[in-house]
């Protein structure tokens, strides 16, 4: 969903030594026999490191996880990421270290799993829970006259300018902090599609506010 003009993006120059290391990974993983098996095992170890890193990073907010669950989530994320990486080797363009490229798959798998686990069994409200507070001005305590005027205009634009789907998605993600992956799963769509909905809603909000004379 590129919203700006097409821009030519130059390739990053390859740092000394990086190209050879990247090629070593590709040759080994595209090969066969014991050399490939060893490379796959090494890659799995890297992915497990990344997944554990993500789990540990979120550990303070993961009070709902018990016993072996964090380790199990990390291992499953590494397993899933390994499948993704091996399936997408042809997509690797060598514009970063192979390890950095591979890490992002494990981080994504772990992050998505943890967000879903955190929302497991929780209902996503059809009507955003905090919107009545916001729309009623209760969150504007202490705001000056100009800020209150902007708030009223934002509330009116959200209620009148957005489609019901745009309103629900935007308020769920922004106001109620529902993770976009979780919402996508519940609505049977993709994260990218939902973000486009949010983006389009924001464009419409800004346009409506600009029509009303606000400099946003």
């Amino acid at each position: 969903m590129s919203t700006g003009p097409a821009v030519s993006v130059g390739r990053v120059s390859t740092a000394p030594g990086r190209g050879a290391e990247n090629q070593r990974w590709l040759d080994a993983l595209n090969g066969s026999g014991p050399q490939r098996d060893a490379a796959v095992a090494e890659l799995h170890g890297l992915l497990l490191r990344a997944a554990r890193f993500e789990v540990a990073r979120r550990r303070p907010a993961l009070g709902h996880l018990r016993g072996e669950e964090p380790g199990d989530i990390a291992l499953q994320a590494a397993d899933d990421a390994l499948v993704s990486v091996l399936a997408r080797l042809a997509d690797f363009r060598g514009e970063s270290r192979f390890t950095t490229w591979a890490y992002k798959f494990a981080l994504l798998e772990a992050a998505v799993a943890l967000r879903r686990r955190a929302w497991q069994g929780r209902e996503i409200p059809l009507e955003p829970e905090r919107w009545p507070l916001f729309a009623g001005g209760e969150l504007a305590a202490g705001a000056g006259p100009e800020q209150r005027e902007l708030l009223r205009a934002v509330v009116a634009a959200v209620d009148r300018a957005l489609t019901p789907h745009q309103r629900r998605v935007l308020l769920a993600v922004v106001l109620d902090d529902v993770p976009i992956d979780v919402l996508a799963e519940r609505l049977g769509t993709t994260r990218g599609a939902l973000y486009k909905t949010i983006h389009d809603a924001r464009v419409r909000l800004r346009a409506t506010l600009a029509e009303g004379g606000f400099d946003v």
Binding site: S2, Y195, L205
Partner: protein
Amino acid sequence: MSDALVARLLGPVGPEIGCEECFAELDRYVELELADGDAEAAVPGMRAHLHGCPACAEEHASLRDLAASPPA
């Protein structure tokens, strides 16, 4: 509080990429950041997307910190 919520509702100003392109470019973007390169010039619209998408922002922060940390 209301200022922050309005900012989150309205999102970033200017062109931004989507989640798929963000994921595709994330490793290159992070390495440019860590090398003090001009990451935004290499991936226009990435910074705006990271401001507008909490999930991608979390994954960006994780990859940046992981890539910057030496292997155990």
